[in-house]
Symmetry: C2
Subunit: 347 residues, 2 copies
Amino acid sequence: MAKERVTVVDIARAAGVSKSTVSLVLQGSSLVNEGTRAKVNATIRELGYVYNRSAANLRQSKSKIIGIVVNDLTNSFFAELAVGVDTVVQSAGFVQFLANTSEKIERQREVVASMREHGVSGLIISPARGTEAADLAPLVESGIPVVLVVRDIADAGVSSLTSDNHAGAMAAVRHLIERGHRRIAFLGGFPDTAVFEARMRGYRDALLEAGLDTADGLVIGSAPSRAGGVTAIEQAMMLSDRPTAALCFNDAVAFGVCDGLRARRLEPGADFAVIGFDDVIEAKTAVPALTTVSVDPQGMGQRAAELLLKQINAGKAEAESIVGSVRLVVRQSCGAAIERKKREALS
Amino acid sequence: MAKERVTVVDIARAAGVSKSTVSLVLQGSSLVNEGTRAKVNATIRELGYVYNRSAANLRQSKSKIIGIVVNDLTNSFFAELAVGVDTVVQSAGFVQFLANTSEKIERQREVVASMREHGVSGLIISPARGTEAADLAPLVESGIPVVLVVRDIADAGVSSLTSDNHAGAMAAVRHLIERGHRRIAFLGGFPDTAVFEARMRGYRDALLEAGLDTADGLVIGSAPSRAGGVTAIEQAMMLSDRPTAALCFNDAVAFGVCDGLRARRLEPGADFAVIGFDDVIEAKTAVPALTTVSVDPQGMGQRAAELLLKQINAGKAEAESIVGSVRLVVRQSCGAAIERKKREALS
DNA sequence: ATTCATAATTGGAACGTTCCAAATTCGTCA
DNA sequence: TGACGAATTTGGAACGTTCCAATTATGAAT
């Protein structure tokens, strides 16, 4: 059982070549003769050789590992983002270190340090709340490509991939206004984040554009989770002049808002219009199907990974900030159902 | 910018000690004098040294990496499982390689091979459908501890951590029978998996115990997802003698069943009883709150990680098969709401 | 046959750590 | 003061790969 590790020199001896040749074969070099390549590959299989990446990494001082750190894997958005990254990263022959910070900056520090020790060749990170440019400095100084996703950090000097939160929120609110809503709330999310800020400005600008009131009471923060959505809508319904529609910080909040509405015997879509943000996978199949601003989390993960790989291959690249476009996908939760019902009632 | 890597010998030189001493400090050995330890730590910080794990791994031929491979990270169950693993693994000073197989056996082969090359010191795996004992053989032969989660594989000779699917399903169905249901369906899941098999037998045994019919038409397979739940309930409602309640393969299916019910203007909990399996995080906050068999995914991840760490530390341990206990958590989707309503109507 | 370019192969020196056995320092006790 | 054990410290030799410079085989052209 306790068999010795098989190494390149074992292969070399068995195949009657030098270890250098074996190494060349391992790297798929075109320098090596077709015949010897076949022979070497045969003995590799025969002896059950397994490549030792630690040794290779040490020698080349680089690895085939990329790190990805997210705030909350339990949130579908990040889970989908991670699988998006995984697919492209894997097919490029890399492997993914995934870590979850639970939004804790201390934990983030630890995992980033750990990844650095492991010599990741790049890092995709959705920074925890309160992350500063200085926290990323050691990384960028040592020349490790970093791409920020979801949340940007000013002056960090690294690439970032975010979504056009402002435009998305505006589109959503305009849609609600077109449907006749006048009292529209903005629900959920932590107010001290850039993403919240951008979406909220979009919401407000659409209101202003239509000459509507932007009274502050209608924007209600909460945790960006399903539970947070429940508390936010409860708070909104205590207002003397209740809203009739809401744009939610994200889909999780939107689902929570639907739950809270039902708890008050109000049917989302029919009695109250709700729009989410993200277009998480469940949005399509939920009942009522969630109208939401699609940012395509999996696609975002893929693009982030591609951006990172490009930088890794280029050696040293300019930091670029991409803001992905976004589109409103209208389903039922914003009241498509009412319109139809009215029409049906007329005919 | 292009600064040289700082190594232990640089530290040694700067601190006026030997590299061996620095190494000792790095490992927190008690052999080294308090004064020199402090001095060394100071210069480490000063020079911005970062530990090179590749080198350490090479020397010790072991790593502080554990691998985890799941079938579908997009499913909350697995995301929570991964988070559970992450928490305990991290605090033990390990780091987690996470890979997603999308239930593809080929992909699984690749990622397992890759993990082996990286020298993971242990592996937690929820095997893709169709995985055989032979697929894991190379791993166990090379002495890498493996723990199977969720799905067991016969004769693989490795530890496993599953749930008492049979007992859980029985408890759920008994509960439905107590509430007066007689036509109970079993919805969703792939029929060719061991988990399906076990849950379905539990369902059937509870029916038999109560002297009820176990006509085959009431068990309807589907993909174990939300979308699958929708199609399963649709099929169930086409039966001439419709069920009035269902035990679902998992929570995702249960949510889909609720969606499908609503699409037919039936209110889950009031007009039809549904019970899920897993107790995913959304189960509590959904409306109606989902009655489900709790397997505590995050806790399961933690226990799996603890089991694996135990084996890693023990060197060579006996394979143990743990089947975790499970409990029915009664919420609203199984009709608690009806009962209350009836009582309210009477008073 | 000799030369020359090209194709293929090869030793040995890294890479940055850990571990072993041996060496040095220190305090204490005779 | 010398000796002795304990506490610290320390040179090298690994670990398994890759890379460089150098060597050898191959074949074409003279």
